[in-house]
Assembly symmetry: C3
Homo-oligomer: 170 residues x 3
């Protein structure tokens, strides 16, 4: 991760004779880079799981970061970013399980919904699945185990919402 | 995020004539910064949710970091740091929901409490709500969606406890 | 965290007389470091909690990082990395609680298991306990509260699985 930059100072001295001096090389280390990108979503239904790994990989390529950390987080408080398996049966299991842990109905069961919202359950579901993931970046790639994939989990969709990708490193 | 520093080397040559050589400018990139701060809490009741966003913003300003990541984590294992909505109805929903998922009583239902503690439930509640958040720092600010606020979640209060803010970047 | 590097440019001028010029010192700041290590596990039973704090501390020492962040994450999607108490009663509470929230049996209750797997529950348990922790590194040490310990949580063991430690900083 180190680059060498050489500086040559050449001085030609005019005078009774002629001489050159040339100097000097040193090691230079690259600074921290940072890169930011928003991903936008509008799901047709209230709830959805969307594999966003390709979009995060694209952002990483754009960043030029070789070694560092990638933060991927929901910018909204009724959705999640999490890492798990891209398997539709599992996603149905998540849907059923989260509905059992924090049912959407009766809507009136949530005090939050007294404000006129109907997404009280979504704020709870999001806590189970998490707001964010932090992924290691190694040799310019997401440093993943064999089955890791990044998902956007929507629990109150049908409107425009965002995920933030922030990559720092060198 | 790059600063230019110019180096001037001026050499005055004495001799049959007189000459000056002056060199050389190069780009210099700032190093990684890091900043650490502890926030202290003592809640009057066993459980509480406290909005700590202003304190984290203050720490960020103190850090001088413009681009990077801010880690905010509970330093105790019966409390949480999480991001969600600053809405009191929702906080009552969380309280009720967590009590259902991991009830405080009967205290004897938790093996952990055999050691003389009564906070077994708090160790479970904290896992649902999470230990930490990592927030992007962009242009010197917490890079948040419209409703994101950082909370300290206390599940075993009435004593002094801490949150750590660690900011790295440039 | 700053090192000073001095550059000496010595120029000897031949001519009617003889002179030396020598220049110039400047401050140089160290670059970002990054370090990567995998920890391997094979638990004898399906589920286990293993304290991996010493291994993460060792990796931190190897990294040479003094100020920064350490990411520790499960590389598999049926296991967790989390921070809590090293107390065996609590671990039994977690085991019982997770089994209640997402029971292993009946195996056929999970659509994921239609693919021939029997680890549907493990994918759910891992979401409750989390994939990763991010720990502050301060003065070359894990910046922990009094009881914080890092655990590997296995929910589908009896085979080789990995945890990634990625440390960035300076």
């Amino acid at each position: 991760m180190e680059r060498t930059i050489l500086f040559f100072l050449i001085t030609h001295h005019w005078g009774t004779g002629s001489s050159f001096t040339y100097h000097c090389g040193f090691r230079y280390n690259p600074p921290m880079k940072s890169y930011r990108k928003e991903l936008w979503f509008q799901t047709p239904h209230r709830r959805a799981f969307i594999n966003i790994t390709p979009e995060v990989e694209l952002a990483l390529n754009e960043s030029g970061v070789q070694e560092g950390l990638a933060l991927v987080n929901a910018m909204h408080i009724t959705s999640s970013v999490f890492i798990n398996d891209d398997e539709s049966g599992l996603h149905q299991d998540y849907e059923k399980w989260l509905e059992k842990l924090a049912p959407h109905e009766p809507v009136a069961a949530y005090r939050h919904n007294l404000s006129g919202e109907d997404n009280g359950d979504a704020h709870l579901k999001r806590q189970v699945m998490g707001r964010e993931v932090v992924v290691a970046v190694t040799q310019g790639r997401l440093d993943f185990g064999p089955w890791e994939q990044i998902f956007y989990g929507e629990f109150d969709g049908r409107r425009k919402k965002r995920v933030l990708v922030k990559i720092i490193g060198e």
